[in-house]
Chain length 448, copies 2
Amino acid sequence: MDIKLSTQPYKGTRDFYPREMKLRNWFFGKIRKSLECACFDEYDGPMLESLDLYAAKSGEELAKEQTYNFTDRGGRSLAIRPEMTPTVARMVAAKMGELNYPLKWFCISNMYRYERPQRGRLREFWQLNVDIFGCDTFEADLDVIESAVSLLRAFGADETMFRVHINNRRFFNDAIAAIAGTDVEGSRKVSKVVDRKNKVPRENYEADLKALGLDDEQIAKIDALYKMDVREATALCPDSVGAKELTALFDALEKTGLLKYCMFDFGIIRGLDYYTGTVFEVFDEAPENNRAMFGGGRYDNLVGLFVKNAKISGVGYGMGDVTLENFLTTHGLVPDLDNEGVKVLVTRFDDVPLEAYTALVDTMREGGVRAALYLGSKKFGKQIDFAAKENYSHVVIMGGSELAEGMVKIKNLATREETVVAHEALADFFANKTATSISYDALMEGKA
Amino acid sequence: MDIKLSTQPYKGTRDFYPREMKLRNWFFGKIRKSLECACFDEYDGPMLESLDLYAAKSGEELAKEQTYNFTDRGGRSLAIRPEMTPTVARMVAAKMGELNYPLKWFCISNMYRYERPQRGRLREFWQLNVDIFGCDTFEADLDVIESAVSLLRAFGADETMFRVHINNRRFFNDAIAAIAGTDVEGSRKVSKVVDRKNKVPRENYEADLKALGLDDEQIAKIDALYKMDVREATALCPDSVGAKELTALFDALEKTGLLKYCMFDFGIIRGLDYYTGTVFEVFDEAPENNRAMFGGGRYDNLVGLFVKNAKISGVGYGMGDVTLENFLTTHGLVPDLDNEGVKVLVTRFDDVPLEAYTALVDTMREGGVRAALYLGSKKFGKQIDFAAKENYSHVVIMGGSELAEGMVKIKNLATREETVVAHEALADFFANKTATSISYDALMEGKA
């Protein structure tokens, strides 16, 4: 065959070579452990879903534009999932009557969005999704925010590195109504303009509000909200349900010691047709990563897309692997992934039969030590080079004379220290080493 | 909105609720651990690839028929990956000069095949892929077969439950040539017919061979090969390179103690245009799962699809989650996944402030105990029901009087035993319990 194919991955997707994979496994392993410790259960769903799921939530045009979608041979319109929420809402709806509420669920899966790749945004990404279904009080909002703080703290992040910006969609609407003196429909129109405040030139923003009947004083009052703390802001409309929810949540954040990681931010809206109560984003405080890492909030009506009059409220968030990786790297929170702890290469000489070497490897593996036989016939020096490049911590050396004596030489590649031990003492030698170094297991299980 | 959407997953795909996910995480966790212990490194690639990758390997027609494929807005023909091998060959080709051979790589990823769903076959499945690149001697074949045996043994499977059926493609061709007395092109034609032996009626098989000039005696000799052991079979053409490879591999299997899991099987061919040496399949010995669980072998030319004259030989196998799950279930190798070890629910009463409860939860989590606060306002009995259904092992009970005394009551839900401890002794109480029960960590990390 003469065709030579491109070795590049498809635009906006990535190859995860072992080094990149180790990093991804490390951080998702730590996240999984943190969430499991808080009794969240993992789930997963299919990569392909009916396009209707996204059309029902976001409108058909947007769904078609933002997803990879196509028609199968049976005429079904399908999309590669661009997000997890419609899938999890479908799953909850499918077993609505038999599930044990409140559900605390998470998932870590890959998704596709059809967009122009840029820093922090790719076409294929992995996303953590955390949700609680079936608890409609602020305790669930607190629990999901706590889980987000805990998983960042598990990496060693502190309150100087990230901040949870919190708002409430009901409060947003009520505050706008209180300031603008509008009816429900009028407030909705004003809210749509305010939602675009930071995305359009100031003069257009003001002109749009004035077209809806607002004067300079009212516009200044809205501006002032962006600088207020939660007490000042909620004082504007104290009888608003949203204001009460915000107050209850911030009281609980204070009493449970989480407030130092959080702040009220009137600028957090997260679109206008989806969330119904608390909304929040977690920002990386490093100026070069000026993006929200997590975004989420409360949505009351998603399960209702599937089951008429279903009343199962959800609250949750999503977090992408790309922004998290930027965060961890920028703040120096990634450990030395080349230090894999004890990992032993058995080197080979021609005068020793293969099975004598595999017996050593078997002994070590049975003792829980990561071990492998060098595959190939290169010279000893090349075998040592291989071991060093592949992060082996030790090599085991056994020529014909060591075999006859029932001994092996162990060389520590970092210290160059050499030890001679009997074959039967090999696993024990490394069992002790494992206990005193960062083990690969601990690294992968997120304990390091 | 009035549209009520279907709650069914797309045909041939599955929803993984927490129970199913726990099973999948458990068995892939054990597999990951077994392979890491043998120094295999994990990698991953994108879900979407250029359709050309599959067309170059299998022909455009077959690639289009078997994959989900479509054209993106830039006119690129894409396919959702139906297998991992073209991706990993692309990745090796892309960094051919900088990688440290031999590579021992594995990956656990989801794939899609466009086919009619049936037992053991779905449209979306997860697949383990294990490969060694850059070692062209039998040691690599031995190492991948050893890894397959080890990971099944890690589940407690023994030689009565599975068998590795091994053949060699070079030997297959040479044996046919030796019996039929054909030249290279004639042998190729005969091989194509023999490859279909078990898929067509006997009379058609014989007629096809006779049309190629074979007589009854030659046909009987081919039949006899299916009943021979490796020594008898290789004696037919002892100078064949394939026969020598087979002999070397079986000698090594015997000397390393793996032979009891393996057998020679002339019926293992695995298609005719792909593999170049050793080929093997691992069969479930249970009659109701009459399928190969793993299939693989040596392929010399895949990296060459990308880089002209590239000489990087590979050997490896793939294994799907569906057949593995059938195997584990049939042979009783799945542990009680409802036993999650220590997992503690803090129940609530109205007369105790929230932060007094969250402090207990925090104490336990900091001590490494899985713990959560009951979310909601149901009565105590309902909270206990919730805990039992969600596999909590213990509940912590603290009313106003216990709070005042600085004590909590701990109830073991299995034994109904109750213990009263001081707040500060809570984490220690469970730390001891964790050590004496199957912990969730151990379960998830594949140690149970």
